[in-house]
Symmetry: C2
Subunit: 462 residues, 2 copies
């Protein structure tokens, strides 16, 4: 099938070239999928336009806030303007936490301010703050080894370092310091927790993100220092017997507020076939404008859908899911999975790892779809993308894929620089490299086009 489509593409190119000699004979004709994908390398009509507009006209879109609602309204309008069908919002309720004042200073012996941001779900210190000795841990493992009660009355500092990796695996190594480190320290008596930012940059732009307190552990104030501040605190702890910090964080829980998923479609020609689902999330953390996380992901998904539509009506419907409230607990992905449990999906793809180039393609296909997997791999090779036999695993916005045990294609992006920006004030439009974004859209176009025109059932190996 691959060689067949390549022959067709080749023939189309030849035919177009022949026609160009006698333009009077040219008829409006849809480009081939390969040509459409190739042309996405040269220009991008949708992805940049989407993320440029969203970050400029809406900006930060924290889950459950009125800013996220403005983001949904903006996206609905944009999707309609681009001619998508069935553009709609599916609302859901969620728990919302918002930051307040946040400041820290070393009181003694080396008095100076420190730059930090509260972690999602952090408790408040109250407006007067807390003042306590800092106890440092080089790693999450060291914190685990701390005896019960040993942190009573202290501020724990978790100095777990993150290193950049192409595949983002550094996040899996360093992430626990944020995800559960504060809860672990609190369970040993800490009255507050500061962590080194889970990030790979060296700027005074700390990385926020959610933290979770285990059942039975009373939440404590928890914040992330910027990496230069963490370095400074390490130097202080190395030279002083006791370092005292004052920490003031006044976040609030707003209780249940409304969020929502934005849906849109390119209808397929055979509505009996389950659709291809393209997912991303529309909410962002509040510090940046949510350009790489994940405005651009929604732009990429929309661009791929529009590019495929430009080659003709696809066999299967292509559905966009711009999930709400991903950052604070995958609320949107879970709400979609619940609402559409009886609405089968053929295969899902997610774009939620920045705007840099795609370097690998993975699937979770069953053995009977091995030919489809191979066809995808061969089709993206010209964009410098390798195939992998490693199994694609569910993305954050693709909860439904896991629940339905549906097909999944993972277009792995280069994450080397992603965690320089992730969850920081620095997540802004200027960080997107248009050339890498175009490669990304080209690969998505190629892959989504093949999947949306696949007439055989797509099954996962699960």
């Amino acid at each position: 099938m691959k060689s067949h489509s390549l022959l067709l593409a080749g023939a189309a190119t030849f035919f177009a070239a022949a026609l160009s000699v006698s333009p009077v004979l040219a008829q409006p004709t849809a480009p081939s999928l390969a040509d459409q994908a190739d042309s996405a390398l040269e220009s991008d009509d949708y992805a940049w336009n989407f993320v440029e507009g969203l970050t400029t006209e809406v900006g930060p879109r924290q889950a459950g806030t009125e800013a996220e609602a403005r983001g949904r309204a903006w996206a609905v309008q944009w999707l309609k303007q681009q001619g998508f069908s069935d553009v709609q919002v599916e609302p859901f309720m969620m728990n919302t936490w918002v930051r307040g004042e946040e400041k820290a200073e070393i009181i003694s012996p080396f008095a100076q301010p420190m730059t930090l941001v509260a972690l999602g779900n952090s408790a408040s210190t109250g407006p007067d703050g807390v003042k306590a000795e800092v106890v440092g841990f080089d790693s999450y493992a060291d914190l685990m080894d701390a005896p019960a009660g040993s942190l009573t009355g202290k501020i724990a500092f978790i100095n777990h370092h993150m290193k950049p990796t192409q595949d983002g695996s550094g996040y899996g190594f360093a992430g626990p310091a944020r995800w559960t480190g504060p809860s672990l320290a609190a369970s040993k008596g800490a009255i507050a927790v500061v962590i080194r930012s889970i990030g790979t940059d060296n700027h005074r732009t700390p990385h926020t993100g959610g933290t979770t307190f285990a059942e039975g552990v009373e939440p404590v104030p928890a914040a992330a220092l910027s990496n230069p501040d963490a370095d400074n605190l390490v130097r202080m702890l190395e030279r002083a017997p006791q370092v005292t910090m004052k920490l003031t964080l006044t976040p609030r829980n707003l209780g249940q507020t409304e969020s929502g998923n934005v849906l849109a479609e390119i209808p397929g020609s055979d509505l009996s076939l389950p659709p291809v689902l393209l997912a991303c999330h529309l909410d962002s953390w509040d510090l940046g404008t949510g350009a790489i996380d994940d405005g651009v992901g929604c732009g990429i998904a929309a661009a791929a859908a529009k590019n495929v539509a430009a080659t003709g009506t696809p066999l299967r419907t292509i559905r966009l899911l711009f999930a709400g409230a991903e950052e604070t607990g995958l609320w949107g992905g879970r709400a979609y999975a619940k609402a559409h449990a009886d609405d089968p999906i053929a295969v899902g793809l997610e774009s939620d790892f920045g705007a840099d180039r795609i370097w690998q393609l993975r699937t979770n296909f069953a053995a009977e779809n091995a030919a489809l997997h191979d066809r995808l791999v061969r089709a993206v090779a010209r964009f410098g993308v390798e195939g992998s036999d490693e199994e694609a695993h569910d993305g954050a916005d693709l909860v439904i894929i896991g629940e339905q045990k549906a097909g999944h294609v993972d277009l792995a992006q280069d994450g080397t620089h992603y965690f320089d920006l992730h969850h920081t004030p620095d997540d802004t439009l200027d960080k997107i490299d248009p050339a890498q974004l175009r490669q990304n859209v080209a690969v998505w176009t190629q892959v989504v086009g093949i999947l949306a025109n696949e007439d055989q059932p797509i099954k996962s190996s699960n």
Copy 2:
């Protein structure tokens, strides 16, 4: 004299090599200047130690504040520990401005927060802030062209871009937008001014710095947006007929407070000869920890002095001037020039442009010192430093050199990345590249050693 010293250096190296075969014969002997400078390339006992300690144990040192006083006390202790002579503080009084709350948001049509910092000498908006339409100017020249009264009731936005340059000349081009742009806009009726940061990075870390209001112009609130925020505001202005910003800045003038210069010496063997003056400034802006601006400059000057002393007592005294309150108006350099008007200086050098490598040497020497100029140029060639016939001009901390028309040697540093960090929260220790810093110290050692042992008068061409 150069070839002579090179021969000596060569002989010393050979002799040391010969001795190393029979270590029992070795005697403690001072290294040659060339060897000492070369060894600074390999290890640095002073410059890093100074800036690491100062940024860790004191941190930000804003002029006229108690933090600057702690910085002086720290420096005095450090200089005494390193064996400098006549370590002392010369106090002076100055006008002190400190920042308060600072925040901005676009109210309409694209509501979102903006990241900015107040400029030194900014007026206060009062706690309730000001709300007004933004009028944008692409350049300082465009603002000059705005008719009188045309900005009445508006917030002026000066979008003057700065580009990185090795020699820092981009600052001269873009700087006026900060130095006098707010005054110019106020003179045309603006009730507040925001500028694009005078800086070459793309981080959400705005660049502060002083601004000056002309006589007869009532100061207005003035602040710098980070470059990504300025980009965003430009996009808004391009698509909306009217953009409204709310701006809240509550800085205060503290009136006269005390600052001071820290002085220290390596006494020369001939006290009748005017000394060599090595200058830097100890104060910093309040946002960062003053690592590259200018803690490291004082470390470089001190390291050069100590390295030269390690080669034996110099002919001329080497004096360190760690100036206070440079950032807010060269108060320290002016106070030193006034206090020491009758205390002739032979030649001055300043380190106040970060920690990166030195690439060019300039002097202002009179024709009769041409041989000394040439000797300096030849002596630093092995460190990759070129000589220049361009005349050295006074540095910010070397007011006395201008007033005395004394000698000046300018060791020009690579400023390509300096304005990524200058006056931002990101001016922290981790930004210093130890390898470039060692080259810097090596060149300083070589040059200061030659100057401090020059027995002929050193005269400027002025």
